[in-house]
Symmetry: C2
Subunit: 144 residues, 2 copies
DNA sequence: GTCGTTGCAAAAGTTTTGCACGTTA
DNA sequence: TAACGTGCAAAACTTTTGCAACGAC
């Protein structure tokens, strides 16, 4: 925890990023929360310590932290909900550029034993793979 | 296509669900679109054929279709973006009830060859597993 | 003092809800 | 005709943006 904060301040000094109370609190909240918080959750939790903070500071700071490689976004397809006429369990290839989704099956994965570390984690219902990359169309456009 | 539509009408008749022009168009759009469309995409595409249709009909119909098992939602953690202080590639266990996320690594999966079917699909950058279930806390509450 | 950051306010975009009217069976 | 479905309008909620004031270095 301490180490994380110190590393943050050191990185800022080195990278000419200004250290502000808001950034410190947001960073502290993310590394101490164990639930992969959302922007709104962070905002609500910080308000008691920094009463004047505004939502947009939280959003902008999180966006900056991502840019600087301090945090990452939990993989999520889109901000929009998308629908699938295939109601059977299956996996997805996701084009990072055009967001096209291609279904595929992977029986070898489906029948694979789950890591031993997950034994006491709870009840497992199903599993899903997402493979990210560029689809053929986008990959060929990229080369031009 | 035809078969899908006929099956839809048959299911409706059997289940005392009313067949309306809006429902038919929305269903047709989903099964013919190859891109796992969003509600907004479906709305925009149907408007030319059903000029009077409203957004909320599309949303409510999609919600009904899900309830009836005709379509599924593409797996997505939440409507909100969530952040992760762990910037290394890793996988997630997702509790379906409290939405808690637990990180885990799975080197056996990471080094597994990707299905041959995906060979010509494009450029692959990375892959991510999501395991869905109930965490220990929620599973024990469930039993009570 | 300079320039990056912040707060405020407003807006954009997705999704939900209440209510009166229309339509299906 | 009875019950369900739809359209309209408004609202809730997450996220983004423009601008003036503030604060870190």
């Amino acid at each position: 925890m301490e180490t994380g904060l110190e590393a943050f301040v050191a990185l800022c000094r080195k990278s000419e990023i200004k250290v502000t109370p808001q950034r410190l609190e947001i960073y502290k909240e993310i590394i101490s929360a164990d639930n992969h918080p959302s922007a709104e959750y962070i905002y609500q939790n910080i308000r008691s310590r920094l009463p004047g903070i505004s939502r947009d500071t939280v959003y902008r700071t999180l966006s900056s932290f991502q840019e600087w490689g301090l945090i990452s976004q939990v993989p999520n397809l889109d901000e929009m909900i998308r629908f699938d006429p295939n109601t059977q369990p299956h996996h997805h290839f996701v084009c990072e550029k055009c967001r096209k989704l291609i279904d595929f099956s992977w029986s070898e994965f489906d029948s694979m034993a789950i890591p031993a570390k997950l034994n006491g984690i709870g009840t497992i219902h199903n599993r899903h793979v997402e493979i990210y990359g560029l689809c053929q169309e986008c990959a060929s456009k990229e080369q031009q």
